[in-house]
């Protein structure tokens, strides 16, 4: 093993570098584009050297900045508002999904009145349902029956429901590993079921909670389809505003890339902070079926 890898080292590292460039290249291009002026982008000579500028970000965020950027004539409040909506929706939906999912996963493992197979099948079936399939019914029901169209509560409800199966399933695999003796000891000391759950079980399964919350947050933060169908002008999230600002011709690439970058930053940060948990969540899906 060692000898063969040492012999091939140069080619091996060259391959690594190429792969990394290929993986990061498009993202890097988006970042540099967002730091240029539109004039620069359109000019024939695309020089690698340019003065980076934050102007595009100022244009996008003008509504939430504490100062008035000099170059912005008319401040469009759309994006600032959308960013606020995105943050609210993503945080609340993730929070609810985690609390509710955790309790359900605990009940399924510890009280075992439903087979674990049932949960696996439900997870698998729910993973199969494309958001596009939910579009028609959700539109009809939310508008005419729940009266939730245009509200953040409306999308939060779908998002929680959509993400619960996966969260329950992944947390379940962590809770199984919590030694039952730990809980029994707590119960001897007079803790009730809720105390055992919140004070004993939850702290032990922190890595599982991290994986589950990142997955949920990512899906909710990035979701476009249902948000587009359910939200109105004032409650729109960022992906919806990005698609709306894409026109057939004359796209302001610099500004739109800045918007895209802002949408991409939270998931990128999560990736670097918690790549291990993300990979755990991802591989668990296939390896355990």
């Amino acid at each position: 093993m060692n000898t063969s890898s040492q012999q091939q080292n140069p080619a091996f590292y060259a391959l690594l570098v190429v792969l990394i460039i290929m993986a990061v290249g498009p993202i890097w291009l988006m970042l540099t584009t967002s730091l240029r002026l539109n004039v620069d982008i359109m000019s024939e000579t695309s020089s690698l050297l340019f003065m980076p500028t934050l102007q595009n970000y100022e244009t996008v965020l003008c509504d939430v900045l504490w100062y008035d950027p000099a170059h912005v004539d008319y401040c469009d409040p759309t994006f600032g508002r959308a960013l606020g909506n995105s943050i609210i929706v993503a945080l609340i939906a993730t929070g609810i999904t985690l609390v509710v999912g955790c309790m359900a996963a605990y009940a399924l493992v510890r009280f075992r009145f439903m087979g674990r197979d049932t949960v696996s099948i439900t997870t698998l079936l729910m993973r199969m349902v494309p958001p596009a399939v939910l579009l028609v019914p959700v539109f009809g029901i939310w508008t005419f029956q729940y009266q939730l169209d245009g509200t953040r509560a409306g999308v939060i409800l779908v998002y929680v429901a959509m993400n619960l199966p996966f969260v329950i399933w992944i947390l379940q695999s962590f809770i199984v590993q919590v030694p039952i003796q730990l809980e029994e000891a707590a119960r001897m000391d007079g803790a009730n079921a809720f105390q055992v759950f919140f004070l004993v079980v939850l702290p032990v399964i922190k890595p599982g909670l991290a994986a589950a919350s990142i997955f949920t947050f990512r899906i909710v933060w990035n979701e476009f389809l249902l948000a587009n169908a359910l939200l109105d002008r004032n409650t729109r999230t960022v992906p919806v505003t990005i698609v709306n600002s894409l026109t057939e011709y004359d796209i302001d690439w610099a500004v739109i890339m800045a918007t895209g970058m802002l949408l991409a930053i939270p998931p990128i940060i999560f990736t670097f902070v918690a790549s291990k948990q993300i990979i755990t969540g991802m591989t668990a899906g296939a390896v355990k079926g």
Binding site: I20, A107, R110, V133, A286
Partner: protein, 304 residues
Amino acid sequence: MGAITLGRMTPYVFLAPAAAFMIVGLLYPIGYMVYASFLDWNPSQRIGEAEWIGLRNYVNLLQDDAFRESMFVTLKFASIVVSLEMLLGVGLALLLDREIRGVAVLRTIFILPMMIAPIVVGLMWRYMYHPTVGIFNRTLEDWGFQPIPWLSDANWALTSVIIADVWQWTPFIFILALAALQSLPRSALEAARIDGASAWQQIIYVKLPLMMPVLIVTALLRLIDAFKVLEVILVMTNGGPGLSTEILALRVYRTASEFRELGVAAAMSNYLLMLLLVLTVAMFIYNKVTEARAARLRQMAEKG
């Protein structure tokens, strides 16, 4: 044991919120969609006012050339994308399965394309494919080649969309294949090495067969996801030019939001759902069969 000391209602209290959310937000809507697929329904009507037309939506769809075309595009897209990604992902995993520090970094960086919003991925690729300012055509022109009409030509558009998807999802296969490789029993690999198997022989006769269960599940998971790809294509081509990149999920979206025929969109969703159901059931059965076989082998081994 726990259930005896606790109140009999406790599990239900713990489960109730999750059950409520899933019934209200998921199961009821899906049932509603099945019902809506039998109606002639547009968004301005309440569902009660819509006319019941039985199976007409389904029959009409089967005779609709545009729908059949989009079904064909979906199958083509999904099969090409999954085979390319499996080939590249598994190949890379076999190549990079070494104990070298770089692999951990590579894995972290490789997750990035999957974490970023599909909308943004579409945006990045649309920019790179741009006929004049995009990096591909600029480079081609710099090297003295003809620019390629990446997204504006019906023959190229599907290829361009496939390239973007391969960029985004090959890492998924790579990571799963690598995890499978690293959990292979060391003893089998060592035995093969001691018996003098070459690197190729090890891969073909030992590693790939042992990885097969995980690889098949991975391929099926990816296949299911490939049918759900929508946002990337929506941003890049919006299904065009013509119908060349209009996959089924995108057509559902456009039927509902642009053509405002909810009943037809629901029927289309049902077709998509049935297709995915077949795949999911196949995956589940495959899992059960391999588990059963493994259990049988274990039993035989224990008996001696």
